[in-house]
């Protein structure tokens, strides 16, 4: 790079400036909502793009207590954690079997799982509803956990199988020769080596279940079982003109996924580009 060039002639600085402006435009809706959640309705109408005069948390307190966001939040947390645990426990051994074990029909079974990645939820949601009805699991959190995990499974098995395939077979075989059982080889060798993939899997599952809309919409009926997504929607219906209140609910719903994303950004993004391109 030459020195003494005016900053606007430096392409890197220009690029930064252009991208910063674009980023500001793209994220305006998010900041508009955050600012509005601290405002009174009068301010939202009259000064929609300014900072709030006072940062008051009234809208948040109201949404959390009167708007039931308190209960929506815990329901979503329970469903998400339940789903993550179930996916983890089920998908890791299956991924291991497909990646490392020799058995008849390995490919065929794996393709059967891949089929699930193409299958749209909309195509099976009706039978799933009546199926859960016969199990007595409609309008229950555990029903949502089970189905969410089932739906997350094809991608999860795919991800775990691909990451465990890259791990050298010799490592496992050496443990095998030492007399370790297949399960011990799995727990003591494979799982620790596949840790980055396991983290990516957990982040993905968190995002997809925490943010899910269709499944809870179909499977949950009473307000005290609602997740944040459903709660936000019904809250919006009840307070359709109270923007400040609605935005407080919106911000409460988006904070956890933003935090998880910011912490695990790298694993998430890398897992995604690997999963899709392979």
């Amino acid at each position: 790079m030459r020195t003494g060039v005016a900053p606007w002639r430096n392409p890197q600085i220009l690029l930064w400036a252009v991208l910063l402006v674009l980023l500001a435009i793209v994220t305006v809706p998010i900041f508009w909502a955050i600012l509005a959640s601290f405002k009174t309705n009068m301010e939202i109408v009259n000064q929609p793009f300014s900072l709030p005069k006072t940062w008051n948390f009234d809208n948040y307190v109201k949404a959390w207590n009167l708007g039931n966001f308190n209960s929506y939040f815990w329901n979503t947390t329970l469903i998400t954690i339940g789903g993550m645990v179930l996916v983890l426990v089920v998908a890791c051994p299956a991924g291991y079997a497909f990646a490392q074990m020799k058995f008849k029909g390995n490919n065929l079974l794996f393709y059967l799982f891949l089929l699930g990645m193409a299958l749209p939820v909309q195509a099976i949601i009706i039978p799933v509803f009546y199926q859960l009805k016969t199990f007595g699991l409609v309008d229950s959190l555990s029903g949502v956990v089970l189905v969410s995990a089932g739906l997350a499974l094809p991608f999860s098995v795919f991800l775990m199988r691909n990451s465990m395939k890259d791990i050298q077979k010799e490592l496992r075989e050496s443990a095998y020769v030492d007399g370790a059982s297949e399960w011990r080889a799995f727990f003591s060798i494979m799982l620790p080596l596949a840790k980055p993939a396991v983290v990516a899997l957990l982040v993905f599952t968190f995002m997809s279940i925490w943010n899910d809309f269709l499944l809870p919409l179909v499977l949950l009926i009473s307000n005290d079982k609602f997740t944040l997504s459903l709660g936000l929607l019904s809250f919006q219906g009840e307070n359709s003109t109270n923007f400040g209140l609605i935005f407080a609910g919106t911000v409460i719903s988006m904070i956890p996924s933003i935090i998880v994303y910011l912490i695990f950004q790298r694993q998430f993004v890398e897992g995604m580009s690997e999963g899709a391109v392979k």
């Binding site: 809706p29 020799k102 299958l119 909309q122 199926q131 719903s253």
Partner: protein, 315 residues
């Protein structure tokens, strides 16, 4: 994956090694149990909540059932012939394909351009990648509610802004105007999903051999020529993935439509998924809705397989 995984033991069963074979088959049975112990939980969950419902949706679609009656009437392909004559179902399908087209237009080139810009950065790539990805982290409920407020005819950010800069004549009821509602929804969905495609493009850009650009520099090629002659062809693979994902995603769209318009006004933004949902859960036409969902499933799976086939062929 190599086919060598399908190992069988073709040891001949002759008198001499019968005993040995017996031991082997016992061992191989034990081995099967071990394999099964790894796979069984996943298989059970998968069969229970995906494969079985898939078959059940097909079965239901050949009956006439309201979701409550104890008996079902077999009606053969009646539901499908009805669908083919149902103006709202056809309208929904057309809307889906209009959505696909608009998504492709809005999503691909702008996202690619953005990714190329980010890819040119010497410092701060991670920062911009993380920042631009932010909308994709939000739930559809959050995005839907947020954007219905942005589009609000009276207090929404867009109309308020237009009036403030003296363009009040352009302000309108974005989600209530029949000709604007789908483009408005597609803008929202582009905002919601471009992040994923940006990440894919960035990954693809990283794999391009930099020496090709250096060679082009020597030939005196400008940035636009380099873009069309090097960047775009090198991204062929990524482009295939992205196009197929955009198409399939647009066909499956449900959440944003349901939250923002419920298919209105006058079915102008109705898509197959919302129509099927209404038919099944508020009109009690369960088997009819199943037929609609099977049609959607066949289109989506068919396209997925076709895209994969083209991709493999292109390689």
């Amino acid at each position: 994956m190599s086919t060598s995984n399908m190992v069988v033991n073709p040891s001949p069963v002759s008198g001499a090694n019968k005993v040995a074979y017996k031991g082997k088959s016992k061992r191989s049975f034990k081995r099967m149990l071990v394999v099964f112990s790894f796979l069984a939980p996943a298989l059970i969950l998968y069969i229970l909540f995906m494969l079985y419902p898939m078959a059940d949706a097909v079965r239901l679609s050949f009956f006439d059932w309201d979701g409550a009656a104890p008996a079902m009437n077999f009606v053969g392909g009646d539901n499908y012939t009805q669908l083919a004559q149902d103006p709202i179902f056809i309208k929904s399908l057309v809307n889906n394909f209009y959505w696909v087209l608009l998504s492709l237009l809005l999503m691909i080139l702008p996202t690619l351009a953005l990714s190329v810009l980010i890819g040119k950065l010497k410092r701060g790539k991670m920062f911009f990648r993380a920042g631009f990805y932010l909308p994709s982290v939000l739930s559809l409920a959050v995005i839907g509610v947020l954007w219905s407020k942005i589009y609000d005819p009276n207090y929404g950010a867009i109309n308020v802004f237009l009036r403030q800069v003296g363009l009040g004549a352009l302000a309108q009821n974005w989600l209530g105007e029949p000709s604007v509602v789908i483009p408005a929804l597609v803008v929202t969905s582009t905002w919601a999903f471009y992040g994923t495609y940006m990440v894919l493009f960035l990954a693809g850009l990283q794999n391009i051999d930099q020496s090709m650009y250096e060679a082009a520099d020597i030939d005196g090629a400008g940035p636009i020529r380099k873009f069309w002659n090097i960047t775009v062809p090198s991204l062929r693979n990524t482009m295939n993935v992205v196009v197929s994902m955009v198409v399939i995603h647009a066909l499956k769209g449900f959440g944003l439509v349901w939250i923002m318009t419920q298919g209105g006004p006058f079915y102008k933004s109705e898509v197959v998924a919302t129509y099927v949902y209404k038919a099944a859960f508020s009109m009690n036409k369960v088997s009819y809705a199943s037929a609609g969902s099977v049609v959607l499933g066949i289109i989506v799976i068919g396209l997925t397989i076709a895209f994969n086939y083209w991709r493999d062929k292109g390689e």
